[in-house]
Amino acid sequence: MPAKSRSSKKLVVENRKELSRAWKFGDDIDTDAIIPGRFLTINDPKELAKHAFEGVRPDFKPSEGDVVVAGENFGCGSSREHAPLALKGAGIKCVIAKSFARIFFRNSINIGLPMLECKDIDRIADGDILEVEEGLIRNMTKNETYHTTPLPEFLEEIVDSGGLIEYARALIAKEHKAKKNK
């Protein structure tokens, strides 16, 4: 069931000790670059993953647990949730960027693909090996450590309930209960 792939138990990066290869991108990476329009009739993350960055970066063949590292405004453009789904399907465990475009950021939080904001990404090169854990990025290649910006508290609440699907489900159950008790 796709249900499992679209919700997150917790929006912290799992497998803390896992080493990840960094796939480095520049500023203003748009969602057309992440997944071109002609693949938007596909809804399965694994199938979408086959076309991630097709056209703009044909060598993009990440292993499970790798990370995408980018500059400002990552994910700008279309509202297609297919973009974060394609990255998730490709095994990307989180995206680290200087900043994110708004709709892409929401979509990623909602489907449980962690978005880490970090101002030091210029120090990370393509192919660097990173160890990512809550609040910290260790660059094993350069022997450096960077900090990430924590999520706003309100979003933590959604994340803690397991993503937007679970959050909404709990809210509906609560509303129904309140109606019954009236």
């Binding site: 249900a3 679209r6 203003d28 056209g55 475009a101 929401r106 979509n107 909602n110 937007l164 809210l171």
Partner: protein
Amino acid sequence: MSNDLTLTEKIFSRAAGKPVRAGDFVMASIDRAMTHDITGPLAVEGFYEIMRDEKEKKVWDPDKIVILFDHQVPADSLNAAKNHILLRKFAKEQKIKHFYDLHEGVCHQVMPEKGHVLPGQLVVGSDSHTCAYGALGAFGTGIGSTDMAAVLALGKLWFRVPETIKFVVDGKLGDRVYSKDIILKLIGDVGADGARYKACEYAGDAVHKLDMSQRMTISNMAIEMGGKAGLIEPDKKTDAYVKERNPKYKPDKDLKSDKKAVYSEVREYDISDMPPQVACPHNVDNVVDIGKVEGKKIDQVFLGSCTNGRFEDLKIAAKVMDGRKIAKGIRMIVIPASHTEYMKTLKAGLVEEFMNAGAIVESPCCGPCMGGSFGLLGPGEVGLSTSNRNFKGRQGSPEALVYLCSPATAAASAVKGKITDPRSV
């Protein structure tokens, strides 16, 4: 801190049921929700996940939801056909009042045109150009499919109330210079992320002089600078447009930013001497005066989209073409944005004019704009488009180049076969 509020803060205060300011996180009630054939299937899937444990799997309000097909119509692949089946079934089962199958047109044209958007409303759509409804003074904003799933179930969604950037645009537009040129200028100026997470508010003489069609073009492209909305304070023209579609509509004089409202930034422009603008590959903020790209040879011209596919746009283009044929060796695709706009175009004799000129006129849909359907560009080809995005690969091959411009510039260029200043033909 002053008690004065921006239009955005006022809209969110009403939708959240309590006074809120920029920076606050809120659960806000949605006045209208729109989803389409590309993002709808994932939203429906998410909706049923949310309703998993509920006996009655009903949407929050079938009268407030609009579902339509515009990106891949008529179905251009088996997958598209399957997605259409899924949404038709959903619309029927859920008794969605406003369901438009493939005949009606592009979502952002149909929504205001059918009276589904009112000033002051909070409207969400699972499409990034939902900011277009700002032209009516509504806070329209794009969301993803999981967000839409939550809206279908709850009628509510979380938001961070955005700060507002105010663009004050004064002056008089020159001959054959239009609102598309204004918005390209603004985007080029602030950059692709210049309004990220923020509401854009367009003010000034030059904006309020625009008709509703041209206002929609400006609001539509707020997202291209990262904006969450692209608002224009309602005025008499707005009220007339809305009343024509909702006779009972009563204008609310308070639907405007207060005098001392706090803006994150105010930018002022005088566009009196501004030449036509063109966005060059591969970013919408890569904007130049037309003189810099004049003479660039083109292979295809696309006149249409939610940005510039209205009757008024096509009329401007036809006037510039003035009965002349398109240049040899190029092709031109014209797509009126909706059934209504198509009929106006047809009755005015413009369909015939475009066809005689050598263009093809397609039924209302998104067409080549998102590169998922027909009209794609091949490797090495150059496209000139009145749509809203020129990202690498957006309209087909990643080795194609896409330039964005106004309908007037598109028309002049079609006639000459190269990028041409519409004032020179």
